[in-house]
Symmetry: C2
Subunit: 458 residues, 2 copies
């Protein structure tokens, strides 16, 4: 945890923003895999962590602005719990670390909220992303699951604080990025024909776990990199393959790193691979060079897509004006995802609060295939932390679909594209902080140019 | 998956047992960590796996005995899902692998169940262990969360099939046990002063993940083995410590292994450690020697506890008649957990269905501290698979509590016990199949005697 002053200041700012009402923070519970007591690793809700810092299951909190109270609700451990799970500080001791002096038994939260309803206080809550949240809102506030109405002022208040990373947060994210970089270096050193994807994924995970860190998201380690979020690890790597690794670490405090790399199975990329890979890197570096405060990130996305289309034009995959193709959405055949996303206490920071608020400052998102997956589109500001991750993918199902629909035939040479349906995909990803004057890479630089990757790989 | 005939036969048997009504099987959904799309690894419900085999999220199933229909409800992938998550067989193709020919879109399950309610069919469902199950039962059947009434005939029908492992299941469990044994051998080779618990846990996890297996439960790797389910991995191992490792692998099909070992930090156990460790092993071996069909497992538990108390009496920790002490519950100061539990598709097999049904054949469980944690108490039968895991623990909080209460002073020499409050705890655990004539160890034997552990450890 940070010092309690951090949490006190964060809450004070949020109270000032909202001005009145009651803010309900749902902490997370343990989450059963195949029965209640066989739990996944515990992950506290990120907004709860941001304002209260406590990484324990079974807590929720209220900031009652109208009555100037801040309360953490939870239960003390029983002797059975101590025998099985070990001892912990008391709830009072824990809460004091977050600068909270008022604690109440967990069952009291229902009474508190019902009394607030009776008094016609405005009760603000955030979007739910676990069924347990829905059950609580129903029990406490009578809201039927699926009919929640999250508070937009509460969402905006949280987003407008969490989007701007403080120095102590940046230091924490940098720790995550250092370990994340080591995860990728480990993979670059071990990928070779004959080993299984699962062996790479296991070694990559080990790096995070050995630091007593978690994974910030499930590892992608696949020879089928054309599938953007492919979590299947059952293939054996063959000569001629590339392994796409997308993996990141999460610190004890919950801050994430997120990087991607594309590693040849053999000691060198083939010419066919290098030709496409170099375009992806050119796109990546063009995007990075454009990063500075005041720039619209959606423009950087357009730029990165234009570089992809220009490169593919040189190779005969596409034709016509590259930027026209991008504006029309033709690039999404090869680049159907975004350029990057905010990163912090969540690897896709605050995705549960709504990308429109987090990444678009309330502006409507495009619904165009490809562009709609751009999670960040707003003007960049100092303190933003986000990823840069353009990619080039040959997705057989998408190629067949578009080809059959004669889609964008003015831009795409399907005959040439069809010969690359077995190519798979390429993505490199780094994490950047927007500074007053530009952008700074977070974590140590991992190899990105083919010769650098080949050098560490040998 | 097994051949479809396995699933067809399992369902036929269950239908015959129940005779009439409608059986609802809730498959599991993806489970979000800190936002909906950042999911924990997917784990299908074990009973769904047992009867339908399909390891995919977003499915549920109905066996409508009254109308002789077996239906899997689910949705086909969209092109967006294929781009992001990869392609899969169609629902029809998947279902045919389980011998199911009728599939319907997921939203149809609500209509089907509401029609069954109208027709006054008896709708059987199992206990819930995720809030998502509660939300579904409310949406589909109008059951308010927390007021579910699971079907005892359905529970008993499932338990009476899943408790008896078939040859193909035993082969699968044996695969899990082989990898589980390798996890422990890995730890035995690496534990030494100076490394962190997290490094051991990471290396142990890597063994499972490299096989593309999962962990069957969160790893326990702790120098504070007196805490029975201690998942904290932040300590550095010091000379004089023992590391208690409790870890197991889960195969692709979901079958579990579960073993424990206690490893000295140094090349040899100290005399003080060896004295206690040898008693734990004697208890373990006495229990194993007693395993055969017809034996009441609670009697084996009593035997194992008696051996512990006799050993501790020789060392001066306890006094009086050992078996009398066990019957009174005094042993639970040192041995506050059970001797073993059923194991199969869940590491604590069917814990969500109720231990009374699974482990006690409907007989009421003891409420005595210690004995109440014995998950298995019934007469052993061929085909049962269970663990053997007696232990000896010195739990400072429990010692202080009982001492203050003058509890069992006729059996316990608290002055001597108090000098061992820093001892930590010892547990060894193996997995056994009850055969027609006795019991068979599953997976290769891992070192258990001090000299064996020391030999591999050096």
């Amino acid at each position: 945890m940070f010092a309690k002053e951090t949490y006190i200041a964060r809450r004070a700012k949020l109270k000032q923003t909202l001005g009145s009402g009651l803010l309900l923070f749902l902490g997370n519970d343990e989450s059963g895999m195949n029965y209640a007591d066989n739990t996944y690793h515990f992950r506290q809700d990120s907004t709860f962590l941001y304002f209260f810092g406590l990484p324990y299951a079974g807590l929720s909190a209220i900031i009652d602005i109208d009555n100037n109270r801040e309360i953490i609700f939870g239960d003390e451990l029983t002797i059975d719990a101590i025998v099985w799970m070990g001892t912990q500080p008391t709830l009072k001791e824990k809460s004091e670390l977050a600068g909270i002096t008022e604690v109440l038994p967990f069952k009291e939260i229902e009474n508190y909220l019902k009394a607030a309803q009776t008094k016609k206080q405005t009760i603000h809550y955030l979007p739910t992303y676990r069924a347990e949240h829905q059950v609580k809102l129903q029990n406490w506030l009578g809201i039927y699951p699926g009919t929640e109405k999250p508070s937009v002022p509460f969402i905006m208040g949280v987003v407008n604080q969490r989007n701007y990373k403080s120095d102590e947060e940046i230091a924490e994210i940098e720790k995550a990025c250092q370990v994340t970089a080591d995860m990728h270096l480990t993979a670059m050193r071990m990928v070779r024909p004959g080993i299984r994807e699962s062996e790479v994924a296991a070694a990559v995970a080990q790096v995070a776990y050995a630091h007593d860190y978690q994974l910030s998201f499930p590892i992608i380690a696949t020879i089928n990199g054309q599938t953007l979020h492919n979590h299947y690890h059952g293939n054996r790597i063959k000569s001629g393959d590339m392994l796409l690794l997308d993996a990141g670490a999460e610190t004890e405090m919950g801050y994430a790193g997120d990087m991607s790399s594309t590693i040849p199975a053999d000691s060198k990329f083939t010419t066919r691979q290098k030709d496409i890979y170099d375009i992806a890197v050119a796109s990546h570096e063009a995007a990075v060079a454009a990063l500075k405060p005041g720039v619209l990130f959606e423009d950087v996305y357009d730029l990165s897509a234009k570089v992809v289309m220009e490169g593919l034009k040189d190779l005969g995959f596409v034709k016509g004006d590259a930027m026209e193709a991008v504006k029309a959405g033709a690039h999404a055949l090869f680049y159907p995802c975004g350029l990057g996303h905010m990163m912090g206490l969540d690897v896709h920071d605050m995705e549960n609060l709504g990308e429109v608020y987090v990444g678009y400052d309330g502006r409507a998102k495009s619904t165009q295939f490809g562009r709609k997956s751009l999670r960040l589109g707003r003007k960049l500001e100092p303190g933003f932390v986000h990823t840069i991750e353009p990619g080039i993918y040959f997705i057989p199902e998408l190629i067949d679909l578009w080809h059959g629909q004669h889609k964008f035939e003015e831009f795409i040479n399907y005959d040439k594209v069809a010969t690359y349906k077995d190519f798979s995909g390429i993505r490199n990803e780094e994490d950047y902080l927007i500074t007053e004057t530009g952008a700074r890479l977070l974590g140590k630089k991992i190899p990105i140019h083919t010769e650098e990757v080949e050098a560490i790989h040998c």
